[in-house]
């Protein structure tokens, strides 16, 4: 693993609520389809899964947005469904239909026979990508590793792919909570080992994406999603190579639960755009850093309007430490990269005054 010191450590400092000169920014799905160079590499790979499973290509697309924009972090290019794939479900992508599993979870036996993968074996291609990216970064910015949350992964595993309603997953949860807990416990163990292997390979911060936690009611969210994210936070390697590894939890649609999320002991809470970040800071900002939270659709507006929205969010958070700028969800594939440039520049230019003494 590269041991070059970080040239730009704004992200790590902001996640740990330490002083920085500018608010750091990275963009969820910053390595993605809105970039022509990504689409070229994707075409070269032939299919999405090959792109994920070839460390050189995953490294290439991870670095692409950094060559275009002065972003303050790289995020590993991968897919949240690599874990269920390694657990034996057989991931494939069918054109136009998104991710599918050959062997979704249908029975008690399916759950009991699930293996907890060895990340350096079944997920070795991810660890190779992490090592390669760290080497190629030469300490420019930190590398964020990530995983889906256990609940979010469970929805794909039980539905057999993407879903909107989660009928099967919720039927299992409501009718057989014991089985759902068995499943979530196995996924949590797998996620913990996976992110710890990423840290060992060189990931300098970890983010857990709970894309579908917001589909639960409060009671179910606490019991079936947040409890397992806490289990991961409790068991993540928090110090590595003399550095603290910040952990960020992000539940889309979870702004009503940010106090409980902050109580897990994570370092930062990711916010979607439905909450004013200033209000979130009042509620939990003394305990955790906050990441977010511009509506990704603002990037469809003009550069001037983008700048105005950045100004609003920076002002809403206000002076002081603990803000990582981001969108409230992944960047859409039809965004003009010039608008992303306008966003990144606006954050750096307009944030300086919030970090003066």
């Amino acid at each position: 693993m590269s041991t070059v010191p970080l040239k730009n450590d704004r992200l790590i400092k902001a996640l740990l609520r330490q002083p920085v000169d500018r608010t750091p920014i990275w963009v969820m799905r910053q390595a993605g389809r809105y970039l022509p160079e990504y689409r070229a590499t994707r075409a070269k790979a032939g299919d999405f899964l090959t792109l994920c499973k070839t460390p050189e290509l995953a490294c290439e697309v991870t670095l692409q947005p950094l060559d275009r924009f002065p972003l303050d972090a790289a995020i590993l290019f991968s897919d949240i469904l690599t874990i269920p794939d390694a657990m034996g479900l057989g991931l494939y992508f069918s054109e136009g239909e998104g991710p599918r599993f050959e062997r979704p979870i249908k029975t008690e036996q399916d759950i009991s026979k699930l293996a907890i993968p060895d990340p350096e074996q079944e997920l070795g291609y991810v660890m190779d990508a992490v090592r390669l990216i760290r080497q190629e970064l030469h300490g420019r910015v930190p590398l964020i590793g990530f995983s889906g949350s256990p609940w979010t992964l469970a929805t794909y595993m039980v539905e057999g792919g993407s879903a909107k309603v989660f009928a099967n997953t919720k039927a299992l949860m409501f009718d057989r909570p014991d089985l759902m807990h068995q499943l979530l416990d196995k996924i949590s163990q797998s996620v913990t080992q996976y992110v710890n292997a990423q840290i060992a390979a060189g990931a300098q911060a970890i983010m857990i994406f709970d894309t579908w936690g917001g589909a639960l009611n409060t009671q179910n969210y606490l019991e079936f999603s947040l409890a397992y994210m806490k289990q991961i936070v409790d068991n993540i390697t928090r110090e590595h190579a003399g550095q603290h590894i910040p952990v960020t939890l992000f539940t889309k649609g979870g702004s009503q639960w940010i106090e409980a999320i902050a109580d897990t002991g994570c370092d930062a809470v990711g916010l979607d755009w439905t909450i004013e970040i200033g209000e979130a800071r009042k509620r939990v900002g003394e305990r955790v850093a906050l990441q977010g939270n511009m509506d990704p659709c603002v990037l469809y507006a003009s550069p001037d309007r983008i700048r105005q929205e950045v100004a609003h969010i920076l002002e809403s958070f206000g002076k002081g430490n603990g803000h990582v700028f981001n969108l409230g969800h992944g960047i859409h594939p039809t965004i003009d990269p010039e608008h992303t440039a306008a966003l990144v520049n606006a954050v750096h230019e307009l944030s300086a005054r919030y970090h003066e003494d």
Copy 2:
């Protein structure tokens, strides 16, 4: 219009926070695809739009769930997109793709030439259905009329149909708020006249569905969705034929804004399932009634589990007035009607003790 007094007025009383003997229940999309008799009428109609536009058939499906379950209200069978259709956009349903408009809103001229429809003319088929349903109900239960919210209707009108991201609508909102306000103002005037015509024709309560308000940030929600729902609340006929007409506002994904929703002067606030109803009651329950809020997916679980969830929600709301039981969103097409029966019976049986002196 029928002037038979209501035999069952629990819904109206609960919406006005008056005492009742049982918590009333109705189910969003209670007349829908989960019922075999609905599918038969739908097949007879040939297509969905014919079903909406033929008063006898709309009446038939409106009454079907009441013949199966002891529900406390009927809700007009119609579609929220009848208004944009009447405004000249040309609604059609393409198989597998959902609703589409022949002439979506693309330019400033498209907005300026939009007509505000005369509900008894362009939407006369809806008013005929309301009159027929009132006649056929013979006062069994009250009839709820409804409309989509201006923001929600605008998303369909600008996107040209269903969307997930609302790229065009939000680009218009962020870049040309003046035009978006012109559009929303015209829709609000149309909605107001439409629901007032429903009231004149016999609707005894009104519900405004803001299905997509939850996709906005707080500032945008207040300015582009809630302000126009308030405009409707301000201009709705609140007294008709000696009766108060309760108005319910429902923003899916809007639980963070219920104080602001209650402040519009509406009678009741609809809740999705992501908030504990007891918490919502503490926040706004002295000002408005609350409608909701079981996760529709609970109906995939066993009748025993459904009963347990009903008990939890009734206990969370607690004793006293102002609760209308419902799901937190429309019932899914794959629900077993026997499970719906279990829900309705559980609400009536278990709620009695919350209404004793």
